[in-house]
């Protein structure tokens, strides 16, 4: 039952391990001559000003928000899609209603001008 998941865990582990080994080899082979200028923040030679965590614009939040909403929608629809063959017509139409309600949300965001990249 859990066997495929053991394989996935192992593969994810291998996926971390092999790059880790490669980077370790790089660390062993590479010269190590740190100095203050080399370690400093790289901004094409100009001294960095102010703190790193600059104020981001709020539009990023809106994209994340719409993504969350549609992600949940997809998660609700996946079991429905798996069961599709066994559904009656009205059950399919209910899911269509579900999609239409969410599309209305997207249309609202579009009308509000939220989707413009400013």
């Amino acid at each position: 039952m859990l066997e495929p998941w053991i394989f996935i865990a192992l593969l994810l582990g291998v996926g971390m391990l092999l790059p880790g080994v490669a980077i370790a080899a790089n660390w062993l082979l590479s010269p190590k001559k740190p100095n203050a200028i080399k370690q400093s923040t790289y901004e094409c030679g100009i001294e960095t000003v102010g703190e790193t965590y600059v104020q981001l614009k709020g539009a990023y939040y809106i994209y994340a928000l719409i993504f969350v909403v549609f992600d949940i929608e997809a998660v609700f629809l996946f079991p429905w899609a798996v069961a599709y063959d066994k559904l009656q017509l009205y059950m399919v139409l209910e899911a269509v209603l579900f999609i239409v309600i969410l599309a209305a949300g997207l249309a609202y965001a579009w009308r509000k001008g939220v989707l413009e990249w400013v």
């Binding site: 994340a64 399919v92 969410l102 609202y108």
Partner: protein
Amino acid sequence: MTILQIIFLLTAFLTLLAALRVVTSPSMVHAALWLILALAGVAVVFILLNATFLAVVQVAVYIDAIAIMIIIVVMLTRGAVRGQGHTVSKTWWAAALSALVMLTGLLVMLLQAPVRGALPPTLPLDQEAFLERLGQALVDVNQYILPFEVASVLLVAAMVGAIIVAWPLFVRRGEEER
């Protein structure tokens, strides 16, 4: 101790450690990163419970979506509590006390529960068929059609509400700065 038990204990330990870091870390970015680890631990626990669908949903919804949204908002409100002293309120001891009381109550209740030592029954049907039944139940009039449709209404309401709350102010603030 079977291998499953060892995996569970390790996961639980790591998850609780990460959860503790979430509620104690002074840096919000670090707290959010620890939150991701805790959520991944919960996904592993779901796999141990044979709820593989929910485990994948946990990763897809929590780690890929909600955690990223939280990190973005942390960056949007950066420096909010910076330079204002402590990250916990003055009454943190009361919070710790109530959490402890809660924990004691829960554990006492658990000790009296008749099902505490139950072992998992064998899964009666394969997971594929179960997922199909879940999908059917979600759109069946006699079962979960109402939560299913209400979920979509709730999501749209949350989306519209969040846009109304957050969006006009961006515009106004943008004009101020100009």
